[in-house]
Structure formats: C-alpha cells, structure tokens
Symmetry: C2
C-alpha cells in the first residue's frame, strides 16, 4: 500500500512530463518502490501495474516480480504481457553509467530515452506520511544516541577516538551504518570537527569539511580534544533506512565569548528559518534570510566555513542525505508540505572551531515541525 | 614518484589500446593518480605530463594542477598549453553517468570517446611495491583487530551487538570505515553471519549473504549467538586507503563434527589455491581446483552458499574490494606478479552456519604470499 502510493506519485510525474513509462535501475530508486534493496529493474507504465525484473536475491515471490538474467530479457517479457513497448521511457541518465544507458537504448531501439534523474528526486522530495514517520523514528533514535555523548568523553581523547565511541552509541541505538548520498560524495557516519580542523576545505559539497586523511578527507584527523576548543558532531541518522541529520556542538571546558555569541546567532537563524519554512516559501529566500542574519551579526566571513564557504544552509533528507530541495543561493525551488529538510547554520571561529547546529524538520502550514528534539546549546564535556 | 609510476602504467595501457589520452573523473581512479580524494579531473596524454583540473577542495597547489568551475573549462586549458585535443580519449563509460559522458563528448566534439573502465581496472590490478606495502599494512592492522574479537564476546549477545564491538575494534586499530566497491554493491564494514542466517541469499555478488534488513540486506539480522552455532566475521580492512579482506569463523561452544570437517576442507582448499597462485595461472583453473576439492569432500551442495551459490572463490583487492581478477567459473584471466587477491573458500552448514575462511595474498613466483597472518582454525568464543 505504502509502495503503491509511491509508484502512483511516479506515475503522476510520468504524465506531467509526457513519458509513457520509466525503467528504474539504481539502488535508491528501487528501494523507494520495492521497500528493499534489490538487484534488477522496475518498469512503471504511466498507467497500469509496475513490474519488477530481478537478478538477485534469489527466492523473492510476488505477482509483479519475475527473475531475469540480464536487461536484454525485459522487452520480450513486457511484450509477452500484451503491452506495447513505450515510445518514451524515463531512465536515470544522471546516475546510471553510460554503458548501462547504452544497453537499455539497445533493448528499446524505437524508444526515446528521457532523463528522469531530477524528476525522480523531485517525486521523492515530498514524503508520504509513512516516510515522515520513518524519518521521525530515525531522528528520535539519533537524539537518544547524541544524549549519551557526554558519557563517553574522556580527557585526553583525540577526535578520532571520540568519534569511534559516538559511532558505537549510534549503532547501539540501531543505526544501520550505511550513509547514502547522491552524486560523488562518500561518507562514513559523518564528521567530528575539533578546533581549527573545522576550517579545512572539503572535496565534497558538505556544509563544512575537516581534513580527515587523504583517502577519506572528511572530519576527524587525530586532533587532541584540548581545553578551549569546540567539537562539532555532525552524523547521519540511518535508523530506519530513512535518514535524518543532526549536528550538535560540544566544548572542552569554557570557550571564548565569541563562540557562544556566534552559536546563539546560529540558533536564532535556525528558529527564523523554521518559522518561515511553510509551503510556498522559496528556497533562496530562506538562504538569504539566514545569510542576512549572519551579516547583521558581523559573522558573514565565517558563515558556513572560511577557506571554502558552503552556499546553502539546508537540504532535503530522505533515502539519501542530499535530497532536493536545497536552501541555496539562486534556488527558485518552492517548499511543499511534507518535504523534510535539515537546517544547519554553522560558523567557524579561528582558534576555537565550529559552532552552530543542525536539526531535521517537516514542512507544514505552521512552519517547520522539528523532528530532532534536542537542546540546542553548546554542551560542555568537562561538566 | 609513487604516483608517477601509476600514471606511467596508465600511459602504457593507453598506447596498447591506441588511445591518445584519458580523462579520469571517478573518485577511485582519481585517488589512484592523485593519492588523495579530489573533485575534478585528471587528463593523461599517452606521452607527456598528466594535468589535474580541480573543483574542490580549495587551496591545493602543484605545477600540474589548475582549478576549474566545470568540465567545459578543460579543452581551452589544454589548448592554451599548445597541446592538440586528442582524436581518441579513454573515459570511464562504465562508471560515469550517461549525462557526464555526454558533457565530455560535447566538450570534445571531434574526439572519439573510448570506454576505459576495464582497462583502468586491469592497470590497477597489478600493484606497485608501494601499493603492496599499503595492503600489507592494512592486513596487519586487520589481524590485530581480529585477534581481539574473543575479548569482546559476552554470552547472550546478538550478532548485531557482536558486530558493533568488532567494528569498534577495527576503528581503534585505524580502520577508516569507508568500504569502497565497484558497481552496485553497498556495504558497511562487511558481515557477521550466525547460524542459518548465513544461508540467506544476497542482492549483491558477495561470497555469502545474510538477511541484514530490507534496506541494508547483508550480514547480521539480530540472531542470538546461541550454543552450537558458527559466527563468521568477514569485514573489509581499510586501514591505509588500500583494502585487505579477512574472514574468520568463531563458534559458540562446540559445533557438530561436520562443521569442523568442512572448515578443514576450506583450509585445505585455500592452501592448494595459495600454492597454485603463481604468475601465469588461469583464474578458472584455480576456481575449478577449489570446486573439485569441495566435490571430492562431498560438500559441493553447500560450497559458497546453498540457496544462491557464488561462482567464484577469490577476487582482487586494492582501492576497492572487488578488483580484477576474479577466480571465477569461465574466467580466462591470467595471474601476474604483484596482483593481490583474497581467497575465500566457505561452506554453509544447515543448522550450524557458515564455516571457512578468507585471507589476502600477493601473487609471487613461489605462490601466494599471505599478508593476513592469523591462525585459520575455528575459535571457540566460550573458551
């Protein structure tokens, strides 16, 4: 039923873009329509029943599921059902490899293949109520794990050791570990940023970077958690297959006043964006709202990084961590009810580290409904 | 110097396939030639110097590196160096998205794009001595982590709880967490398989499966570690950016005799394959050697799974866990010195679980040199 609702949303989009059908083949879109990871394809006509063509795992059973050895088996199976092959077929040209695209084109020689990468992401960006409940459950477990963070701190720890114990807390609360992204980004759990490591530029389009190491250049890099430094924990919550995103800032003892002031500006920005994230709001307006508040506080130079500043302050979350829409400079996208976004105003203070926070919200008529119910203040690990 | 050696190996291949240049854009191949993760491109002419065109991170400096905003900037930069655009250009058609491929073709309208996915994987399959040293270091750290596994077992644990503590041991020994694969496979660390969960078929082409959960269908699924069951730990070792692969089998108390006998057959198979993995050996011959030993022992039906049997007994490892060559049915690939392979004969015993092992070897004239120096026997967690 849940899955049927999602397939219907895709069918609505197919009609909007005048595609007769789509053929899904990437892990995340198949997970969206099958509710589980499969190796194979899903053929969805604009009208009629979806058909699954599976390579692995063996042993699945359903009326709409058949086993195939290769993509070339699909056209004959469709025709055997008395269904004509489509004139236009939406495929994931922005995600599937060029060679896979060629194989599909060869299978459907009289069909025009259309790129549906963005369409499918747009469909997924508005969550069903069930999907919202899954993200809510992820956020609740994520909060339980984060609440336990002060209990695992030991003076003399490095950021990597601290991260390892937080990862364990996340796993004990049910985090599955997989961190799914769209595009070229890779990540393991997320990042722990301590002191000036927070200013190191990233090869990824994340909000902040951190040196990590050359083969895994994100987050913790062996920095000692020393007095007077902030420690920002930004990990992905994958407790249900649906992701939430929460960042909290910790401190080793007391920080300079500037850090607390900047953190309060971040809290204020998040609250103002939360109030404004109603259906109909334009993404760039929310970005500018945030940027202007940072400017007014005189903190523009360290907003969302220093050496390399991210040009967004929020992003959709769902089956991947970077879904549309993005609250970014020059985005004319409009918010809709049941979009789910992480809002993450952050500042990098030289000699101290990163401050700020991140929470996950559902877009509602009353503004953002916060799913990650956790105190926003900087938490002193020495207390 | 190390990186120059790798670039020269690619140049040799370019000449062999009559390509004038290649343009790399995927994370793993860029990591191979740059020694770090970058977002951008590397242009390698068959003769002459490689050029890096980088989008992120900001702040890198080198004579052969320039910053770009988009791929469309590259042709003019090449021409500005007085270099003619190539007539033939090798690209990663099997890994890059169709849309990315189209953008490159549009940038080089008079150039024939050739698919180099397999060529680059073949180049990477023969390691430099430095790369071997990195895999050796990963295997050594991996062994240290596995030796500590009995210390974290507590009666009454589930397989997930057991896995969490092993993941922590791996991280404390320096495992970076990222588990890089080629193709559609996803994985978090690897798998812990207990009892009959070892027989559950996987959507991935791994040696064994395990139910996991629908959104992450691999390995541990909440099975209690109960007396009389085997517990197979198969995790990826990424301690240096270069991966090794080790599997060991544990037991909760004593197992039925059949399990020990099958495990001994697996040890014997691995030893026989090790002796035979010399330069010039043909992959399918090694697979058949293993399969015939399993047949002779009357264990063909449970060799490499039951409900879905893997048709390989070993695979290359390097920057990703599934590099060529694969010791598989119908593979005519020939082993070469300094290839690095994981050999993993395994059996699934109904009512007990998986037995068998996996070790990582360098191909040498004397046979496989074992990098993962760890006792092969089943380890009883109750002792």
């Amino acid at each position: 039923m849940q899955l049927q609702l999602r397939i219907q949303k895709i069918q609505t989009r197919l009609m909007e873009v005048s595609a007769e059908a789509c053929l899904l083949s990437t892990t995340v879109n198949l997970l969206y329509v099958a509710g589980r990871v499969i190796n194979g394809f899903c053929y969805i006509p604009a009208e009629g029943d979806a058909q699954f063509f599976i390579r692995r795992p063996a042993g699945l059973e359903s009326d709409t599921l058949r086993y195939i050895r290769k993509v070339e088996d699909i056209p004959d199976l469709i025709k055997a059902d008395g269904i004509k092959l489509p004139k236009t077929l939406l495929v994931e040209s922005g995600e599937m490899s060029h060679l896979d695209w060629l194989r599909i084109q060869t299978c459907f020689p009289a069909t025009t293949l259309m790129d549906g990468t963005a369409d499918l992401r747009v469909v997924r960006s508005v969550k069903t109520d069930y999907e919202c409940s899954q993200i809510r459950a992820s956020a609740e477990a994520h909060v339980r794990a984060y609440r336990r963070i002060p209990s695992i701190f030991r003076p003399g720890m490095t950021d990597i050791e601290f991260s390892i114990e937080i990862e364990r807390l996340m796993r004990l609360e049910g985090n599955k570990g997989l961190f799914r992204t769209f595009g070229d980004m890779e990540a393991f759990f997320g990042s722990v940023l301590t002191g000036d490591n927070a200013a190191v530029a990233s090869p990824y389009d994340f909000s902040l970077g951190g040196a990590g190491d050359p083969t895994n250049p994100i987050g913790a890099n062996g920095t000692l958690l020393a007095a007077g430094q902030s420690v920002m924990v930004d990990m992905c919550g994958n407790f249900t297959g649906y992701l939430d995103d929460i960042t909290r800032t910790f401190s080793v003892g007391h920080l300079p006043e500037k850090a607390y002031k900047a953190h309060q500006v971040a809290i204020d920005i998040e609250r103002r964006v939360q109030e404004a994230m109603k259906p109909g709001a334009i993404c760039q307006d929310l970005y500018e709202l945030a940027l202007n508040l940072a400017k007014k506080a005189g903190l523009e130079d360290c907003f969302m990084g220093t050496t390399q500043q991210a040009k967004f302050i929020g992003h959709g979350v769902g089956l991947v961590i970077n879904e549309p829409p993005v609250l970014a400079i020059r985005s004319r996208d409009m918010l809709q009810s049941n979009m789910v976004l992480a809002i993450e105003p952050k500042f990098v203070i030289k000699g101290v580290g990163a401050v700020g926070l991140e929470d996950t919200y559902i877009v509602t008529e009353a503004g953002g409904e916060q799913l990650s119910l956790l105190e926003p203040a900087i938490i002193d690990l020495m207390h």
